[in-house]
């Protein structure tokens, strides 16, 4: 339908339409989040008010301070950062290496191993939890960060490997051949050819890995005992009680919890946008 108009106008119309749809969508998707913010700023009494007020007056900013101080949250944040950082690095490096092996190197038994690896995602973690826990007990590493970080260095999880493999499959293979002729070693190809071309994918993986570890609850819950080693995700749930949740504190703590991830996501956006320029190398 835009064919009759000039391409310029058509593009502009398309962008205007996209903008309008995005505004509406963003508003819709933000509603639950806005309620979280609103609840975090209410007093105990306001939380129970019906109909709920959207803008609590006066705003109870002290909730953030209370959520921060009623439990040792600075410690929790420090632990979460340490675990997330260690695990993310391991996951990205090892997963990209393994994914390269699965995507671009042919060796006997590769496909069988690939399906085996994928199949590890199909068994619900609930039934392997106890045997895995026993292994860490034998290693005497319960109540350390090791069970939460070390596994990332061994392939970094089926999801990440699968994701990177899918990306690597889309990169033309002639590049490898050319590099091979230039005398690159297979590891050199991974390092100097593949990784620079996979920037959007790597940013994605860093992002997911970070978010996955940042918000992980079950792992820290079962492996960490001492409160000095707790993560934020455990601290959050301590505001939940069988005799009633301290809703406003839980919400305030949740907001504190997601600030780093929102910031990271915002930055990752820029990397994506820059990624457009990078893919110019292709073809």
């Amino acid at each position: 339908m835009a064919a009759a108009r000039s391409p310029r106008t058509a593009l502009r119309l398309q962008q205007a339409a996209a903008f309008a749809v995005l505004c509406a969508g963003a508003a819709l998707f933000s509603v639950p989040f806005l309620w979280t913010v609103s609840t975090a700023l209410k007093t105990n009494q306001q939380v129970f008010a019906v109909p709920p007020e959207w803008i609590p007056r006066p705003a109870e900013w002290a909730n953030f301070q209370r959520a921060w101080t009623e439990l040792p949250f600075p410690t929790f944040v420090g632990n979460t950062i340490t675990i997330t950082f260690l695990a993310t690095i391991g996951q990205v490096v090892s997963a990209s290496l393994v994914a390269d092996g699965f995507a671009r190197v042919r060796f006997p038994g590769r496909d069988a191993l690939f399906y085996l690896r994928l199949s590890t995602m199909m068994l619900p973690a609930q039934v392997t939890m106890i045997p895995v826990f026993l292994i860490w007990r034998e290693l005497r590493l319960i109540d350390t960060f090791a069970p939460l970080t070390v596994p990332s260095y061994f392939g970094g999880g089926a999801f990440t490997i699968f994701l990177l493999r899918q990306f690597f499959l889309t990169i033309p293979r002639d590049l490898d051949e050319a590099a091979l002729l230039d005398g690159e070693s297979p590891l050199g190809i991974w390092w100097r050819v593949l990784l620079p071309l996979s920037r959007p994918a790597l940013v994605t993986v860093v992002l997911f890995s970070f978010l996955g570890h940042w918000d992980d609850f079950m792992g820290p819950l079962i492996y960490l005992n001492a409160m000095e080693r707790y993560t934020v995700s455990i601290g959050l749930r301590m505001f939940q009680d069988m005799f009633g949740t301290q809703l406003e504190l839980l919400m305030a703590a949740s907001l504190i919890h997601i600030v780093p991830t929102v910031v990271l996501f915002f930055i990752a956006q820029k990397q994506f946008i820059r990624g457009i320029a990078m893919t110019g190398l292709k073809g």
Binding site: F48, L71, V93, T144, F145, A146, F217, M218, F239, Q240
Partner: protein
């Protein structure tokens, strides 16, 4: 932010990863050396408020036992059971553990906990006499004592005194003292306290309702019961008394229309705190929350109503147990004794009013009986324990109670069934579970 380059990535990865790969462990373990004290690990669940009390109790204990250090593991209540079971199965559980009575019978039979009888034998004679028998009953299995009760409580009714006064109704506490707080009186009060808009939209409800097992007393006081004495057979179906009790309870919602439906209660729209529910059935442990949240009306407590057949109330505690694998059984016993002793009970029951004392000496202590903030009727706590009856909780309780609860949903939640039909439905499934036919 610096750009993500490969070199940075690899550098950071190696720097971070190498220590792990070479077997080094970056996290400092446990307590510093040089400390000669025995470290006793103790695990419980709770919110920040509970954490503060547990710390206080631990500090009091350490003051009296300088040779022991209490290492407290405080776990969010919603995930406590998962963690505890994993620790017990892997023999990594702490020395002393608080176990919810809903799970205690299932855990104790796996020999995870140490029998306490040999410790009790070393105490002065009559040591157990100070504990009220109901508490010891819960902690006993196979005729041996395995746990002492903590956070002991009963189901009571919290009531809004202002709403009662405004409706010109007699105070239920007074009625109870006069022996007139029975089921019909309760229903009448609940109906009188319910208000609807002309459009039928509810404004205020007379009472809240609770799920199994908290409504146990209604069934018992109508003459019914859930399981047989041996806890091997479901006895409600076909039993006229049980059916009537259950129907009465469901009628609060659908016939008397004096209790909110699940839709009404979601999100605390009709909660006791909101002042729109005149009577709230709840555990004794809910009182700290009400003290924190309620500022604009007067409230207090009364026992659950009696029936034609009896005046039982529901009681339940949690057990403090010693893990079989502990290296410090004697120190663990000292701690269990302290946690269930007068000092700790006075803190938990007297100060925080989170639970009801398990020791007669504390129950009769004027310091416990005196209250300077609501609920003022401390004697109601004690009366509800005197009338108390323990719940039919056995090692299969989790499974059959869940099946039972969902079989009652058509009756309670959507009004698509009557008590007779719902119980007939429940009967078959519950009995199959009790006979062990549902897999391993």
């Amino acid at each position: 932010m610096k750009r993500l380059t490969r070199r940075r990535l690899l550098g950071a990865g190696l720097a971070a990863g190498l220590p792990w790969c070479t077997g080094g462990c970056g996290v400092q373990r446990g307590e510093a050396g040089g400390d000669r004290r025995v470290t006793l690990r103790y695990m419980a669940w709770g919110n920040p408020e509970q954490l503060a009390v547990e710390r206080q109790i631990a500090a009091e204990f350490e003051k009296r036992h300088p040779e022991i250090h209490i290492h407290l593991f405080m776990v969010p209540g919603s995930a406590y059971q998962d963690k505890l079971q994993l620790m017990l199965a892997s023999r990594t559980a702490p020395d002393v553990v608080r176990a919810d009575h809903y799970y205690f019978p299932a855990l104790v039979r796996k020999k995870y906990f140490m029998p306490l009888d040999r410790f009790v034998a070393r105490e002065p004679t009559g040591f157990l006499d100070d504990f009220i028998p109901l508490c010891l009953e819960e902690g006993t299995w196979d005729r041996k004592l395995y746990g002492l009760n903590v956070l002991f409580g009963s189901v009571i009714i919290y009531y809004n005194q202002d709403l009662f006064a405004a409706a010109g109704l007699r105070d239920p506490y007074e009625l109870n003292r006069a022996g007139k707080w029975d089921w019909p009186t309760f229903v009448q009060a609940a109906q009188a306290l319910t208000k609807h808009e002309a459009s039928g939209r509810p404004l205020q409800f007379g009472t809240s309702t609770v799920t199994f097992p908290m409504f146990g007393s209604v069934i018992w006081n109508h003459g019914g019961d859930f399981l047989n004495r041996e806890l091997t057979r479901f006895t409600m179906a076909g039993d006229a008394d049980s059916e009537r009790g259950l129907q009465e309870y469901a009628d609060l919602r659908w016939r008397y229309r004096c209790a909110p439906t699940p839709a009404d209660t979601a999100l605390s729209a009709f909660s006791f705190e909101s002042g729109k529910v005149a009577m709230h059935w709840g555990w004794a442990g809910e009182s700290p929350r009400f003290r924190r949240n309620i500022t604009n009306f007067r409230w207090d407590i009364v026992p659950t109503p009696s029936g034609e057949i009896g005046n039982a109330t529901v009681v339940k505690g949690n057990q403090l147990v010693i893990h079989t694998e502990t290296e410090h059984p004697n120190e663990a016993w000292e701690f269990v004794k302290f946690m269930t002793g007068p000092v700790a009970e006075m803190l938990l029951c007297g100060r925080l009013r989170r639970a009801i004392p398990t020791r007669r000496s504390v129950q009769n202590d004027p310091e416990y009986l005196r209250a300077d903030q609501p609920p003022f009727h401390t004697d109601v706590f004690l009366e509800s324990i005197r009338r108390g009856r323990t719940l039919p909780i056995d090692y299969r309780y989790q499974e059959w109670s869940q099946v039972f609860t969902s079989a009652l949903e058509p009756l309670f939640n959507v009004q698509e069934s009557d008590a007779k039909t719902a119980l007939a439905d429940a009967s078959q499934r519950v009995n199959r579970i009790l006979s062990g036919e549902e897999g391993f």
